[in-house]
Symmetry: C2
Subunit: 184 residues, 2 copies
Amino acid sequence: MSLKHALLGMLADRPGSGYELTKRFELSLGNVWSAKHSQIYPELQKMTGLGWVTAGEEGARGRREYTITDDGRAELREWLTAPHRDRNVRNESMLRAFFLWTLPPDDAVRYLEGEADGYRAARASLDALDAGIPWDSSGSDLMGRIVLEQGRQWVDTMAEWADWAAGQVRAGHDATTLDLRRRP
Amino acid sequence: MSLKHALLGMLADRPGSGYELTKRFELSLGNVWSAKHSQIYPELQKMTGLGWVTAGEEGARGRREYTITDDGRAELREWLTAPHRDRNVRNESMLRAFFLWTLPPDDAVRYLEGEADGYRAARASLDALDAGIPWDSSGSDLMGRIVLEQGRQWVDTMAEWADWAAGQVRAGHDATTLDLRRRP
DNA sequence: GGAGGCATGTAAATGGTTACATGATTGG
DNA sequence: CCAATCATGTAACCATTTACATGCCTCC
């Protein structure tokens, strides 16, 4: 049930309409969580029912601005501090990698090289995103930039891994002869 | 629609029943993709309808073994080699991190330190998994171990990041004064 | 006046989790 | 004989995506 909390978190910074929240997902938060407007609008209505947000007057073009309530802030704090054990990972590129042994080695190497390129492209767009944001000294910008840095380290690590993996497959290694070089 | 392909990939190695496939998700594949038996059984039936697998005779305790067909192998190859652009990431811990600025700094630091510990624990269990598998020279073991290595690098990178992030918050940095040390 | 962006919604379908339900076999 | 594990399934619910649907407002 993270969508509600993602919306609460965004509204804790400043009030916004469903449309604006959709844009915030697309522009910044989308790198860690995504949602479409068709899910966001009904969710905001449910959250109004729960008393976590209040809907403002209908403005131009039917615009309706939502504001977080004290109950909403309490719920957000609860979600942030409660222990959470479920590391539910879903990584489709790794799932594919798992089955690359069913392909001729050349095709497997091509896949892994393509992945490495994909990660390098992702790195470039994270850099562009970083450079394009006029970071200020607010708390939300601090955590935004720290999370962005996480994305950068993640794609770098994955690009390195994909290069390494392609090399191992190209060299004809098997699971017992892998060269498991670790970072110092 | 990755579940079908995950099942195809596992059956490409060797035939298996729904129960066994569920176990394979729990024991090895679960680190990159997960599924419950309640989703797997109906899916195998659909795949039989598509001609991607064939169901064997009903054995003891109603056990039914599924075997991948040539059509199934073709579909798997197609899925592995077709270009895929959608990097649809969903990372709930990072989503939380994004909103840590709403907490008192001490609580934010505690969260990040807890994350670092969680990643170190994950590292230990990946090491145990690796040590417990009698890797052989098969192609499936090669890719299995390469993917496991990815998991190891991922959790190491994340533990380092969480330590760094906790330090930055503890030191009272803001987005304009972050110490963005990069790996050499 | 038309294009593009602002703005909101619903419906249908798919994907996934939790809970319910049942029974056979094996090993201690 | 009892517990654990093997083995399969369905139903209800929740989450997510895709497609359908509408209309306003601003700028060129």
